[in-house]
């Protein structure tokens, strides 16, 4: 009866740390895969942007210039649009590695500069929303599962159904109307009070930068402006997470190891926090990753209603004006954000469940 475990595999030199830490090995492998996928993202954004109908020259030059072939040719040459596609892609990659995403034809600024303010604005919004959603959604889901089929559970079911079903743009309009126009308790649109200077740029997240600089009035203004749009975004994700947490917890509550933990005489709180939640978190993490993706698309609508200068607003403006460098920049960023979220989900699986690490 020899044990299947403790196979102290011999590994030479530097690999020893990795061999001894399955988690480290797992993380390294997943990160390498993510980097490969990032290349795929650049290719896909490039190709997709080029196959969409619409002539960037026509969109950018205006009615009168279009009639003049010399001007059009000059525009094409200046932006490298006369080159064959593969050559354009190589040029694009080369520039990308130097941090050059091109120049936006609308703002006449480097796309990277535009993204450096737009991306943190959206991440601040979506990050606040997902954090709040996780806390509230998981808590409500656990309560619903523990009160299964009782009044609390029924009420929570209605609440989460509402959250999932209510259209985000409608909720955003309603919230803005009620809390800003009618009640006047919420600050207006934008990220800061009118006339207030943004804090020194460190992360681009106004709340964090203001706190780092010790500018507390700016911090409170930034946080205040964040509350309403973030809460509007949480409605959907809270609904989603509540429902999934409830079913995940119910599933785990029926497992033998939970009964075994009770048989050990552990207090109910310990059983819930260590035995039940640990296992229930696996499906919840999956849903949270998907929910974050949904949040990013939800921000397009919320940002336009709250005049939030984020990625959604930037993407909308670039797409409608066929500002190709900006569209590609947005595509790249969104792709990388998705990859990062997926990587984070994978890593969390590995941290939560030791069985995942071996595969």
């Amino acid at each position: 009866m020899s044990p299947r475990w403790a196979p102290s595999r011999r590994v030479s030199g530097g690999g020893r740390l990795l061999a001894r830490h399955p988690l480290a090995r797992f993380l390294l492998r997943r990160t390498a895969v993510a980097v490969l996928l990032a290349f795929g993202v650049t290719l896909v954004t490039f190709v997709l942007t080029n196959v969409v109908p619409g002539d960037p020259a026509a969109a950018n030059l205006g009615q009168r210039a279009i009639g003049d072939p010399a001007v059009v040719d000059q525009f094409r040459k200046q932006h490298g649009l006369d080159q064959p596609l593969p050559a354009q892609y190589v040029t694009y990659l080369g520039h990308l590695f130097q941090g050059d995403l091109g120049e936006s034809q609308q703002t006449h600024q480097p796309v990277l500069t535009d993204l450096a303010t737009a991306v943190p604005a959206t991440l601040e919004l979506a990050g606040a929303a997902i954090a709040v959603s996780l806390v509230i959604g998981v808590a409500l889901g656990v309560v619903a599962a523990l009160r299964r089929d009782r009044l609390t559970d029924q009420l929570l079911r209605v609440v989460s159904l509402l959250g999932v079903s209510v259209p985000t743009f409608w909720l955003a309009l309603l919230a803005f109307y009620v809390f800003f126009y009618q009640l006047g308790v919420a600050p207006g649109s934008g990220r800061l009070a009118p006339g207030m200077a943004p804090p020194p740029y460190v992360t681009g997240l106004h709340t964090i930068d203001a706190a780092l600089a010790g500018q507390w009035p700016v911090f409170w203004s930034a946080a205040g402006h964040l509350v309403l749009p973030a809460l509007v975004l949480t409605a959907y994700t809270v609904g989603l997470l509540t429902r999934f947490t409830r079913s995940a917890v119910l599933d785990v509550l029926g497992q033998d190891y939970v009964r075994a933990a009770r048989a050990k005489g552990l207090p109910g709180r310990t059983v819930l926090l260590q035995y039940v939640l640990r296992a229930a978190l696996v499906p919840v993490v999956t849903i949270a990753g998907l929910a974050f993706g949904a949040l990013l698309s939800g921000t397009v609508l919320v940002e336009s209603i709250f005049a939030w200068p984020g990625l959604g607003a930037y993407a909308y403006r670039s797409a409608t004006t066929l500002d190709l460098p900006a569209v590609m920049g947005v595509g790249l960023v969104v792709g990388i954000v998705y990859l990062t979220v997926n990587l984070a989900v994978d890593v969390l699986y590995g941290v939560i469940d030791p069985r995942v690490r071996v595969q």
Partner: protein, 274 residues
């Protein structure tokens, strides 16, 4: 219904005594009676087998002792542990006895051990809760326990997870967890049913040895009369929520008085050479 026990060690003190245990579970129309007055007694250093077909109420009897019955269960009768009635004990005090005075080993160790918590965690959390041991003392006790159930290299095993062990090893670990706080009573619910036949004997021998060495009172729940005849000192046979026959192993398994016990025995393949 039941016969009085007359074992050779009849004088041994009863640690656990079940008298007239009834159980009703909620059903669609009112309640459904699962147990119709069960009488059992467990003595230190003795293994009492509880046999019967599935659905006869064996497992429910075991769960009743631990107070782990399904929601809405209603019980009657008495379950006395050293004179204290467990059925009327407030939940808090019952929780303090669970895992400490009475513990349980479940059927399938691949589901009764938490797949995401280390062996060390699962072997020490109740120790630290019940005994108020610090991390170091609990760890030392855990190493000692793993040695007792014959797990090689206990220190490394503490850092491992259940999926890294074979079925037999997992059940040994589950037994170590059950014994951590030196219980008086161990309820073993089909402890070898989910295991390969080749490792069953090892786990059974381990149970016998621990029972003898630690003076444990064991309630061995099994539908396997082969396991029963190899291990139990005395046997009760259950059918449809009633104990139909109780007595020393030799008597019940070789000269059964009840019709149903005879039917069970006849169902055993090659029972003349157990």
């Amino acid at each position: 219904m039941t016969t009085t026990e007359t074992t050779a060690t009849g004088k041994a003190v009863e640690v656990l005594r079940i008298d007239g245990l009834t159980l009703d579970l909620p059903a669609e129309h009112g309640a459904h009676r699962i147990l119709h007055g069960i009488d059992l007694a467990l003595r230190p250093g003795r293994i009492h087998g509880l046999a019967g077909e599935s659905g006869s109420g064996k497992t429910m009897t075991g769960l009743a002792v631990l107070g782990l019955l399904p929601d809405g269960a209603r019980t009657g009768g008495r379950i006395r542990l050293d004179g204290t009635d467990l059925l009327t004990l407030p939940p808090r005090q019952l929780g303090a006895l669970r895992g400490r005075a009475v513990s349980m080993v479940f059927q399938d160790p691949s589901t009764s051990l938490h797949p995401m918590l280390s062996i060390g965690h699962q072997l020490t959390d109740h120790l630290r809760h019940h005994r108020k041991l610090d991390r170091k003392a609990a760890r030392a006790r855990a190493v000692e326990l793993l040695g007792q159930v014959r797990i090689p290299n206990p220190a490394a095993a503490l850092r491992s997870y259940p999926h890294q062990f074979s079925g037999g090893m997992r059940q040994r670990i589950a037994i170590a967890i059950a014994l951590a706080c030196d219980p008086q009573v161990l309820i073993a619910d089909e402890p070898t049913t989910a295991l390969d036949v080749t490792v069953q004997a090892g786990v059974l021998r381990l149970l016998r040895r621990l029972c003898d060495e630690l003076g444990l009172a064991v309630l061995l729940i099994t539908h396997d009369l082969g396991v029963m005849s190899a291990l139990a000192d005395s046997v009760s046979v259950m059918r449809r929520g009633r104990v139909v026959e109780t007595g020393p192993r030799g008597q019940v398994l070789t000269a059964p008085r009840h019709e149903y016990t005879r039917t069970l025995l006849d169902a055993l393949p090659g029972r003349n050479t157990p």
